[in-house]
């Protein structure tokens, strides 16, 4: 290990922050770009399943909350791409990689939102899982990412609360609303558990990310935390978690849950989820249909800076 690398590792080990101008190993840079880009892509693809219900939201208050949430997601995308750019990446290139299917986004957004309760369930479960994943990232070794995460987490926790509140209303509502709520939990429970990624013995890059201070807890640890926090909430709502093997272990103080269907996870990852093609096609169409607008803005800016120089 040379002196630069030693200094880098000492900073990371001492819980210090790596800043954009600091030396860093190329693998660290590449890992972070990939992870931050994937996170940014998840934010912008994640606008689709929720955006699907904005025009149909059942009250004006719920509509306003949902619009604000989708707006937050676009904002998160913006500052995450910004964080990736501090590492030398370029937003347009990252978007091209997303559009070409060469970079991933969270598998959770490849499931459809077929009822209003799905919007509530996404807030409660998906944003809840995202918070479990992201709170440790506020202490990530890379400064710009850690700082972006502080802001993202504040907004995510608002999203999570409003989702839980919306689901509370449904769970205590009419029989049709209760059925809608239970059906949403049935469909979103397992995909939410998959959001933490493969189990530790099947997660090839985890150890390195831990040594670099990018990852603080293992996938299984975070998943367990999520289950422990969420099952009592489901009970409070009077809903049934769709896992016949779920039980509370008095000795460990943790919930024991059933086997996750990893075949499903890897299939969705590969592109075979219910909405993979639709999500990407919508994203690509928006980008292509907007090309003339971006070109016009660039042409206008070029013309006017030339005129200013001439004047």
């Amino acid at each position: 290990m040379d002196a630069l690398e030693q200094q880098f590792q000492d900073t990371v080990d001492g819980d210090g922050r790596i800043e954009p101008r600091d030396w860093m190993p190329e693998g660290y840079r590449a890992t972070l770009i990939r992870q931050i880009a994937q996170h940014a892509h998840s934010e912008i693809i994640g606008m689709q399943p929720e955006g699907n219900w904005i025009t149909r939201a059942p009250s004006l208050r719920r509509k306003a909350i949902l619009v604000a949430k989708v707006q937050d997601e676009a904002g998160h995308g913006l500052y995450l791409y910004g964080a990736a750019e501090t590492l030398g990446a370029d937003r347009d290139e990252l978007l091209d990689l997303l559009h070409a299917g060469k970079q991933k986004y969270s598998t959770i957004f490849n499931y459809p939102t077929v009822s209003w309760a799905d919007v509530a369930a996404i807030g409660w479960l998906v944003d809840g899982a995202a918070i479990m994943n992201q709170v440790p990232l506020t202490r990530c070794s890379y400064g710009p990412y850690a700082r972006a995460m502080i802001r993202v987490c504040k907004e995510e926790s608002f999203h999570q609360r409003q989702g839980f509140e919306a689901l509370t209303v449904l769970a205590n509502g009419s029989p049709a609303q209760r059925r809608m709520a239970q059906d949403a939990l049935n469909r979103w429970w397992w995909p939410s558990l998959m959001m933490f990624g493969p189990s530790d013995d099947n997660s090839p890059n985890s150890a390195r990310s831990m040594a670099w201070g990018i990852k603080r807890f293992s996938n299984d640890e975070l998943r367990q935390r999520f289950v422990d926090a969420t099952v009592p909430q489901a009970e409070w709502l009077g809903l049934t978690v769709p896992d016949p093997d779920l039980r509370y272990d008095e000795e460990t103080g943790h919930y024991v849950f059933g086997e996750i269907d990893w075949t499903e996870f890897f299939e969705v990852m590969k592109g075979n989820g219910p909405c993979n093609r639709q999500r990407l096609a919508t994203r690509v169409a928006a980008h292509e249909e907007g090309a003339w607008v971006r070109e016009a803005a660039a042409a206008y800016a070029a013309k006017h800076s030339a005129r200013e120089v001439a004047a």
Partner: protein
């Protein structure tokens, strides 16, 4: 107990429907805009308009005195009961057309809210105080896009002019007067549409000139929204807006 005032209720309903219907159209842009910054901006515009519509519909319900709240008015009225200007309900078209409409609407609503800040109805004046700041940004946003698209590339110029041509005829309805408006203007409650038109035209002409576009010339002046007559597209907009709420009568959300 609020004082019943059916004229004020009817006026707030017009303005509330304008804001609600335009917000609903802007919401259709979610996750579909030309760039991420615009996803933020368009949702911001939609959110402002939605907020305005909620305050206005709530006030309309109070002045009507029949116990209807914002959701009753938004979700449980039929097409002929909506009194928004037809301009608000037109399909978005491409981004250029959407921005053309934003320009025409914001250049009207800014002087409108500005006048309503001093409305003799204190609740309406309070709504105006907030709205005037919001629509000042909406006008800036629309202006900057209309100029950039008009004076951008050949394609964007063509599209921007086409978008403007398409929405332009519907702007005349914004300046119509009728008995209701005359009574309310006399009471100092409402803004006089005739006084708004020259301000609107000056703003729009200036932007259109800077954008190297031309003001459309037409003698076609579609109207009727204020009397509950709407375009074919409006039924679909309402169906989408209202179906879930109406499918579960009487529940909370």
């Amino acid at each position: 107990m609020a004082v019943q005032d059916l004229d004020v209720a009817a006026y707030c309903l017009r303005l509330g429907d304008d804001a609600l219907v335009l917000a609903q159209r802007l919401c259709e842009w979610a996750a579909r805009s030309p760039q991420l910054e615009e996803d933020v901006a368009l949702m911001n515009l939609a959110l402002d308009l939605l907020g305005q519509s909620r305050s206005l519909l709530t006030l309309a319900g109070e002045r009507e005195g029949a116990g209807r709240d914002e959701d009753d008015l938004a979700f449980l009225r039929d097409e002929p009961d909506f009194v928004n200007a037809q301009l608000m309900e037109l399909d978005n078209g491409d981004f250029g057309r959407t921005m053309a409409r934003q320009l025409l609407v914001s250049a009207w609503s800014l002087p409108l809210w500005d006048a309503l800040v001093t409305s003799t109805d204190p609740d309406l004046a309070a709504i105006a105080g907030k709205a005037v700041k919001e629509v000042a940004y909406h006008l800036d946003h629309a202006r900057s896009w209309v100029v950039r698209l008009g004076d951008g590339t050949e394609e964007s110029h063509r599209r921007m002019q086409a978008g403007l041509d398409e929405v332009w005829p519907y702007s005349f309805e914004l300046f119509e007067s009728d008995d209701l408006l005359q009574r309310l203007v006399e009471r100092g409650v409402a803004a006089d549409p005739a006084a708004l038109q020259p301000i609107w035209l000056a703003t729009v002409s200036e932007v259109v000139a800077e954008a190297t576009l031309s003001l459309p010339e037409t003698d076609w002046r579609p109207a009727g929204g204020r009397r509950g007559t709407h375009t074919e597209a409006f039924g679909y907009l309402l169906a989408e807006l209202q179906h879930l709420h109406r499918s579960h009568p009487g529940v909370s959300w």
